[in-house]
Symmetry: C2
DNA sequence: CCTACTTTCGCAACGCTGTTGCCGAAGTGC
DNA sequence: GCACTTCGGCAACAGCGTTGCGAAAGTAGG
């Protein structure tokens, strides 16, 4: 019973040298449509979805969907699961993702802690652990600590799941703060720890673990996790914790920009010649917001955050703003109301049809970043990779 | 000699109902690859490009490129044009776009003027005219005026080109300021002229002219024109004239957002509780920048503009900032230097590898918007449409 | 229970895509 | 003049989604 045969998840798209979008061949076509179907299967969750519904949603013919689902079932990624009620004829057969067919590890590296999760294809957490971490201990020590943590968790989960769990492993996703190169998996720097400058984290961990590794900013991972969890097509995730950053999802894809630098929300200047920020500039949202929090003026902090959010909504015309991070979690209503008010005021002034963009607290909480990191590995399989 | 046979340019992609990305069939595959090849042919301009180069750039096999180019040549869209120097074997045959195979009309409607151009597939302007316009004359009068202007220009060009020019016409692109719905071609409102609220400009003009019509914001049209002209993959076009707006190009595609609202740059707040803007908010870039211009403090205007540009660069991690509009044209060095300084300062503080994002004056000048409007019709043919 | 009807879904043939193997065409270099 | 290199078309091919059709599996009515 071969599950997850070779080509699924690793789209073999021909890549042109340098710039210029890539041409598509039949393999790419198949990968694309298969990923689409898998994505809909995942979104359907335990409820499942029928072939004809898949056909309607994708625009493919029912026959094409049948062929695709047959292949996917043969690979063990999906299975039939009951039937719908009849509407006067043969009832539709419900298909469901087989979550155990694939697993990914997600790691969140923070300044003082590392949290590791294992999720299945549905994104359900099947294993979790965490421990303190000292980023200042040096790159090699941290890599070793993280590797041991991952291996420990894999051992635990393997013990409880057994039966080819290790073979179902797709890889490890790492989320951490600070600027980095997502494409090459290299950290630019970690604030306060110059020894990390330019460290090739992805390759170091991949070599040590013998697994594919993907590295991304924590806000991007969180945004990806929220996107997978079903949070619409275009939204911004604003994270307010020790710092202030954003993850942007545009059209179902995480927008990282050419150098993984997108989402630099905290140092958006909204107060020209304002108070000096840690970055050296003046009037950044981060310094205004965080000093207001320190002074206990949460309403003012929310107002400042809301001004930045309104700027962002106007620039990108996104459909939703999600708030997260420890500071928000401490007083969710204050921030949601404050940001909402600013965004709504802008919408009212501009008279956009459809009204103001909704503002909510991001579900998932602190574990969301690690889960999103795991999704970095699952994303290509469901057509959410990069492009 | 049938040029531009049915399916080219009108990609018949199956569309799923509602959300959910669309599945792709063989027709979509062919359209995609054909568009890719046509885009490269266009980019190659009069210099041309060989089949093997096309294969390298697209990642397709040489044989696939041969088939595609054969089809394209049969349709009259491309032709052979000389050969390269030999490198020890048979020299490569150079292919070139046949610009006369397709034409599009571009119209820029401004508060006091309408400017109309006709461009060929290369984007070369083959006809142009303009006349004063009073937006307050009412929607129907303006539609009639624009229609007459288009028909007049088509008559002129048809006289000079003759030979199936009218058959080569693809459609008419309209660029105008103010919020609108690009997808449905409906204006939301035109500042100062309430009678335009909700006017279905696209359908009205399409019915009147009997040609396909596409409507977009002027800044988006300008950005599209710049993108086609070869200005990189991700950039922002900032237009400073009677107002202040932006057009965003991300990954070679104009980013309009869900409601064509993206690029609302002018009402980005960068001075909390600052001076009141016409929009009702306080401290918008537009009011700060334009009042500085009025006071003759161009350096300050450039600094304000630069602060907003730096915010934008940080949020989206774009690769280039282009400046345009009458105010910029009046003192280009001041604005380029001022904005450059702000963007560079931000880049230095963040220590992004690759250095600061370049800032330049957008080429093309005032005619660029109308040319970009024409590109709205050509874009789908070259794979630059929406998605 | 049987028949008629509706609806789902797979089999088989098909058209079309890009791919592969091969060979002629068109140059260079000795 | 010959060997070699490189380009690019012809033909056969595998694989994609599509179409036509029929079996399977229900409901509705007698």
């Amino acid at each position: 019973m071969s599950r997850r045969t070779s080509k699924t998840g690793t789209v073999t798209v021909p890549r042109g040298t340098g710039r210029g979008t890539a041409g598509a061949n039949l393999l790419a076509l198949r990968s694309h449509n298969t990923a689409l179907v898998l994505d809909l299967l995942r979104a359907a969750g335990t409820e499942g979805i029928s072939r004809l519904e898949l056909a309607e949603r994708t625009g493919l013919t029912p026959q094409a969907v049948s062929k695709i689902t047959a292949r996917v079932r043969e690979q063990g990624l999906a299975a039939e699961a009951g039937r719908r009620a009849s509407t006067g004829g043969k009832p539709r057969t419900v298909l469901r993702l087989v979550p155990e067919a694939g697993h990914a590890v997600g790691v969140r590296i923070d300044r003082d802690e590392v949290r590791t999760v294992v999720v299945d294809l549905n994104g359900t957490v099947v294993g979790e652990r965490s421990r303190p971490l000292d980023l200042g201990a040096g790159a090699e020590d941290v890599v070793e600590t993280v590797a041991l943590e991952v291996e420990g968790l894999l051992g635990d989960v393997s013990g409880s799941l057994g039966h080819g769990f290790l073979e179902s492993l797709i890889g490890v996703g790492i989320a951490l703060p600070g600027p980095l190169d997502h494409g090459r998996g290299v950290l630019h720097r970690v604030t306060g720890f110059p020894e990390w400058d330019g460290f090739p984290l992805r390759d170091a961990l991949a070599r040590r673990l013998g697994l594919p590794v993907v590295v991304d900013k924590d806000t991007n991972a969180a945004a990806l996790g929220l996107s997978v969890a079903g949070e619409g097509g275009s939204f911004a995730y604003l994270h307010l914790g020790t710092g202030l950053g954003a993850g942007l999802v545009i059209g179902g894809h995480v927008h990282r920009g050419a150098r993984t630098g997108a989402g630099e929300f905290g140092h958006q200047v909204i107060q020209l010649d304002g108070p000096v920020c840690g970055c050296g500039d003046r009037g950044c949202i981060e310094v205004l917001c965080l000093t207001a929090v320190e002074r206990g003026e949460l309403g003012e902090a929310a107002r400042v955050l809301g001004a930045g959010a309104a700027n962002l909504v106007g620039l990108l015309d996104i459909e939703l703003v999600l708030l997260g991070g420890r500071t928000v979690a401490a007083a969710p209503e204050v921030f949601v109301d404050g940001v909402s008010a600013m965004v709504a005021a802008r919408a009212r002034r501009e008279g956009m049809p459809g009204g103001a963009v909704p503002v909510r607290v991001a579900p998932g909480g602190e574990r969301g970043v690690a889960e999103g990191a795991a999704q970095l590995l699952l994303a290509p399989m469901f057509g959410r990779g990069d492009g």
